[in-house]
Symmetry: C2
């Protein structure tokens, strides 16, 4: 059933050379030495070796790996003896090393993982935009969205056209995470373009969960405003939308039931 150590060694040699995602399940001993040191006697664990040099040793329970190595460390394979196979992962700065010695390997696999999607914590900018279009008072009392902006030449510029309660034109730039100088500059560039085409009074608002201190001077000098909108708020709005649909459905169902009584 299990591959021989010999076969596994050859297999893993190829796996590590290919710098892909490597999975090993087997009976091993783990030694760590670095900022601290640790030992873990024989037992079956699952080990993940990633292409960036991360190494994770997972026991049968628990969220955290029992031993690990952060990204950008050097992973090598060595044969301690005919029946032994050791995976060695080390890095400098700080000098740390973990060695995983196998006496049996029950599963070994490797392959490249194709994964390019962006991870969005809380909500995406698109979802934030949707939330603000649904509930513009998240930004300002009396704000009325006008139309969605088509990306003309900008990259990664999520924004909203709107009118405030005084009828002034408002450009809202949304950032999913911290607004920095770049975000302010981007909005400024956009405002300047628009000012060339219209004489209307123009306001620029950066909307983000929070703003970098480093962006505050620029913000003030350009008379651009910052409104803090937490992803949670947006999520709450979107959730309420969803819940609305569900609660409406439930209401109908209850009506149906009442008819049955």
């Amino acid at each position: 059933m299990s591959p021989t150590i010999e076969d596994a060694a050859e297999f893993l040699e190829r796996a590590l050379r290919s710098r892909s995602f490597v999975l090993i399940v087997g009976d091993c001993r783990v030694d760590y030495d670095g900022r601290a040191s640790s030992t873990l006697d024989w037992g079956e664990r699952a080990v993940i070796i990633k292409k960036d040099g991360s190494v994770l040793v997972h026991r049968p329970t628990g969220y955290e790996p029992v031993n690990w190595q952060p990204p950008s460390c050097l992973v090598r394979l060595s044969r301690s003896n005919a029946n032994g196979l050791t995976v060695n992962a080390s890095r400098a700065q700080p000098r740390e090393n973990i060695s995983i010695e196998y006496r049996n390997i029950s599963l070994a696999a490797f392959g490249s993982l194709n994964d390019t999607s962006e991870f969005a914590l809380h909500v995406t900018e698109a979802q934030m935009k949707q939330a603000i279009l649904t509930a513009p008072n998240l930004v300002e009392e009396g704000l009325r969205p006008l139309a969605e902006e088509k990306h003309i030449s900008e990259t990664g510029f999520t924004d909203i056209y709107a009118e405030d309660k005084n009828g002034f034109l408002v450009i809202v730039e949304i950032k999913r995470n911290a607004a920095n100088r770049d975000a302010v500059m981007q909005l400024q560039g956009y405002l300047e373009k628009i000012r060339k085409r219209t004489d209307r009074h123009l306001r620029g608002i950066v909307v983000a969960p929070y703003i970098r201190k480093s962006a505050l001077p620029l913000l003030e000098s350009l008379k651009i405003e910052f409104i803090k909108v937490a992803p949670e708020q947006c999520f709450a709005v979107l959730k309420t939308q969803k819940d609305m649909k569900i609660s409406q459905f439930i209401a109908v169902s209850e009506d149906d039931n009442s008819k049955l009584i």
Copy 2:
């Protein structure tokens, strides 16, 4: 090459029922909702489901899982449609849920991991004992170890017999981690046994990285002493021992080399 979603579903159904260690590599979408919320669009990731209900979603790079669920959560499988398969992991307190929707599975495996060894951070008690036997001044200036104690009836009692510079008998109890009331009581019980057999002045010393505040009153009332010995110190001693051997070897080698010159 890859199993069909149909086959994978059946396979994983069995895997989850067996409450063992489950590995899934495949093209998935991940949604999380709980203390925060997140989305992750299609891509290939490795998922670990442990018997205690931990769930880890790992991308091709990075130490941390992109999404996860801590131990003791409920993992269920559902078929969204003929070509879809969703792993759902939820827990209450706090209410959290992650759902992993697959459109392709390239690897699925499960099995029980037999892993009972104790994880020892820094050093084991045996190693601490070895270090103190090698360098008794870690505990006290002038301490001379007498003999190793055979475990009479105690469990997990790692200790050292010694004489201090005044010729008094010293019993040293070693704890790898925090010394608590139990440790003090254990040593006290042992001291009482010995006092019945001898009239010699007897000292009891608890050696550990640190001591619980809760154990201090008991310690004082029983006139038992506490000496802080950090695992790092023990490790340093053991390392020096090792290094001694190596440096001796190097010294010899250098001698040999010098002869060759």
